[in-house]
Amino acid sequence: MEPHSPGTDQIQTLFGIGFVAFAIVAVVVNGALIYTLRRRRTGRGAQPADTEPRTGRPQLRVGAALGVFAAAILVLSLVFTEKAREAPATGPAGLQAKGSAPLTIIATGQQWLWRYEYPNGAFSYYKLVVPVDTEVELELGSTDVIHTWNVPSLAGKRDAVPGKVHEVSFRADEEGSYTGRAATLSGAAYAAMGTEVEAVSPEEYESYVKQLDADIQAAQDEVVSQIESGETP
């Protein structure tokens, strides 16, 4: 769950803001509630109840203070959400693609697997291999129901909806393996639907996709030759 992409760094900052807001609200409300209930309890020399509401108009001031609190959270979330949305530029150690275009990979959700299609036409299931320090853009789609692509270390969750293309981009800052689980109920085997993103050096990536393409080509040739020689029905 450690952030390993510029976007998830920003999300981690937002988490800190959200946690502070949570703590303030929960502590202030519960603290004041328990304190007043105990202090005004009958039987321990308590004062009699005031019969009329208090005079003066504190409502407007309290409302304004709450409004300022809400506005502060709103502004902070807007700022850091915008930062989290920025496409992360490829770094010096990354794969230098043609121009400044990101490495685009088509990710298709289906019950209950992810299929990744690389720019050279090679494809893999479950596991995605990407070059480190490189801007990767996933084009999420689905062939059946809605799936949520979710690798928390690299990017926020995004839904793969049939008939739509939904982009998400990230830049893995370190070589390694990042896992995640699909996050929208998609049927019986939903709980087992996961994915793994492996970040490797650009050279390893290049040779991996080349090898993958060659393997797929070889397998297809093998099938074609078997059909032509009449071995397979």
Partner: protein, 562 residues
């Protein structure tokens, strides 16, 4: 009631044939009978929902458990959510609205009693359809069956159709009750009962009913489209042929978000009656609280896109939803502020209704504070559809519907039955529930935040670091269920065996305490002229003035004024 000698004497041929009690109840148009059946039914379905929750928590007690098959788990999940919302939380709110609002405004009944009766029986039909579905195959599509998973291609059994029929019937029932209630509140208020003098719970009734009139038809439309898609080759939610899977999400989330707000409005309506009564002073900032309840209904429902932050929709829509959701801090904060300042100037009688009301405010505050994080778009990309969302929503809704509902039950039980619920069992039940809720939902917040545990999954894996959290949550759910069952047992035992309560056990300020306990079928023999928002206090003062005694709280006898 002696007839004057000048009136002709009316002779009846014997007494009307008496019918069995159940037939009287079932065919009654009396809002109190309808309300009582609905409240009792809702509490019964709370027990059913608990059983389903415990089965799921048992499955999730240990990693990679095989206690339930994935299909069975998904059926339990679908039934649990539907039961908790459509058969427990909403009918409990509407049952209380329907029983109490006419009494609170000094009406002798409702404006359209047969409509209310139809509403009740549509709801009963909904429950029957949902659980008749259980005999064959319930839905496996979850609490909100998202298209296209809910389509015929992916779930070909009739469970989704049964779900759609059941929620549709229940929603139609709530709409009819809401029509009756809005009409009653508009047309049948006692002399002098101006809108500004309406008790807060009657305001909550009006706001909740209007909200249902807005959101209910939206769900009915969505369900109609779903049934057409599934049974008549429709394309409303199909991609590529002019339809859109996201259409279902918009329509259904408008309803579910509004329903969430409705539960909050009903809970705070009840709490704002209970707290002033039990601390012996009027509510601070009455007008602000009522305005806040209206704001929650409007702004809260407009935040429906908060549930769609990971969907492929424009970022502007998400910022709009975030603005609406964060704006809710103001009305909720103002209600909490006014409740606490009311207590701060009062003399607290720590009886069961106040205990549960305080528990409700506490749990709701934790739940809504955690929801702030889900309103922040970027952070929602991390937290959405994790058990952090489950934990936050459960804190708010269990706080509102269960703690708040039980506060209302303890507070108005004497009015409905003439008897008080057992105080010591109520205390044991309350503290068991507090412990259970903390153990059941706090670990979910942690597991979702730090381990990213996803929702609705029938299993988790042992190497994920979620094992301890889930085990504690399962134990907590068991403790919570035990606490809830204690209050249900308390209600059953106290119905006939509880101590006699009298007509005004808490010294309430609104007119339901002017009626007998339980009220006569026509509610009131005579009605007072309402002169302020505190009619019962005026009546006590009038009695004190006439008898030249100091007013007592609670008033010993509250009948002969007017």
């Amino acid at each position: 009631m002696s007839a004057s000698a000048k009136r002709p004497e009316i002779v009846v041929d014997g007494f009307p044939r008496s019918r069995p009690r159940w037939a009287e109840l079932a065919s009654s148009g009396d809002h109190k009978d309808i309300g009582r059946i609905m409240i009792a039914g809702a509490l019964g379905f709370l027990f059913v929902a608990l059983v389903e929750l415990l089965l799921m928590r048992l499955q999730l007690a240990v990693p990679e458990n095989t206690f339930l098959s994935p299909e069975t788990f998904n059926r339990m999940l679908s039934l649990y959510g539907t039961t908790a919302i459509f058969l427990f939380a909403l009918p409990l709110a509407f049952g209380l609205f329907y029983y109490l609002a006419p009494l609170q405004i000094g009406a002798r009944g409702t404006a359209l009693p047969r409509l209310g009766q139809l509403g009740l029986w549509l709801w009963v039909a909904a429950a029957t359809v949902l659980y008749a579905g259980f005999l064959f195959t319930p839905s496996e599509a979850g609490i909100n069956p998202l298209a296209p998973l809910s389509g015929l291609a992916f779930l070909s059994s009739n469970g989704v159709d049964a779900w759609a029929a059941a929620t549709g019937l229940a929603t139609l029932g709530f709409i009819l009750l809401a029509i009756d209630l809005t009409t009653t509140l508009r047309r049948m208020r006692a002399p002098g009962m101006a809108w500004r003098r309406l008790p807060v719970f009657a305001w909550a009734t009006a706001i909740g009913s209007w909200l249902m009139l807005v959101i209910g038809p939206v769900l009915l439309a969505a369900i109609t489209m779903l049934l057409i898609d599934r049974n008549f080759d429709g394309i409303f939610f199909a991609d590529g042929s002019g339809g859109a899977p996201l259409l279902w999400q918009h329509l259904s989330w408008i309803f579910f978000t509004g329903a969430y707000m409705l539960v909050m409005i009903a809970a705070f309506g009840a709490i704002c009656e209970i707290v002033p009564s039990l601390v012996g002073r009027p509510l601070e900032g009455r007008a602000t609280v009522i305005g806040s309840l209206i704001a929650i209904a409007v702004i809260g429902t407009l935040a429906w896109i908060q549930n769609m932050f990971t969907a492929p929709i424009g970022i502007g829509w998400m910022y709009f939803a975030m603005t609406m959701a964060l704006a809710l801090i103001v009305p909720f904060g103002l209600i909490a502020y006014n409740l606490i300042t009311t207590i701060a100037g009062g003399a607290v009688r720590m009886r069961a209704p106040l205990l549960f009301a305080a528990g409700a405010v506490s749990a709701i505050s934790v739940g809504l504070a955690a929801e702030i994080s889900h309103s922040m778009v970027g952070l929602a990309w991390k937290l959405k559809n994790t058990t952090d969302a489950t934990g936050a929503t459960h804190f708010a809704l269990v706080g509102g519907a269960v703690f708040g509902g039980f506060a209302a039950l303890h507070y108005w039980f004497p009015k409905m039955t003439g008897r008080t619920m057992g105080e010591s069992l109520a205390r044991i039940s309350f503290w068991t529930m507090v412990l259970g809720a903390a153990l059941a939902f706090v670990p979910l917040l942690f597991s979702g935040t730090y381990e990213g545990e996803v929702i609705d999954a029938y299993k988790f894996f042992g190497d994920s670091g979620m094992s301890a959290y889930n085990l504690i949550a399962s134990i907590g759910a068991l403790v919570l269920a035990a606490g809830i069952v204690m209050t249900l047992v308390n209600a059953i035992l106290s119905r006939e065996g509880g101590p006699e309560a009298g007509h005004d056990p808490w010294g309430g300020d609104s007119l339901e305490w002017f009626a007998l306990s339980p009220p006569e079928p026509h509610n009131f023999d005579v009605l007072p002229d309402v002169r302020s928002e505190h009619p019962m206090r005026d009546i006590r003062a009038a009695i004190a003035h006439r008898t030249a005694r100091k007013p007592e709280r609670p008033a010993p006898e509250s009948q002969p004024v007017a």
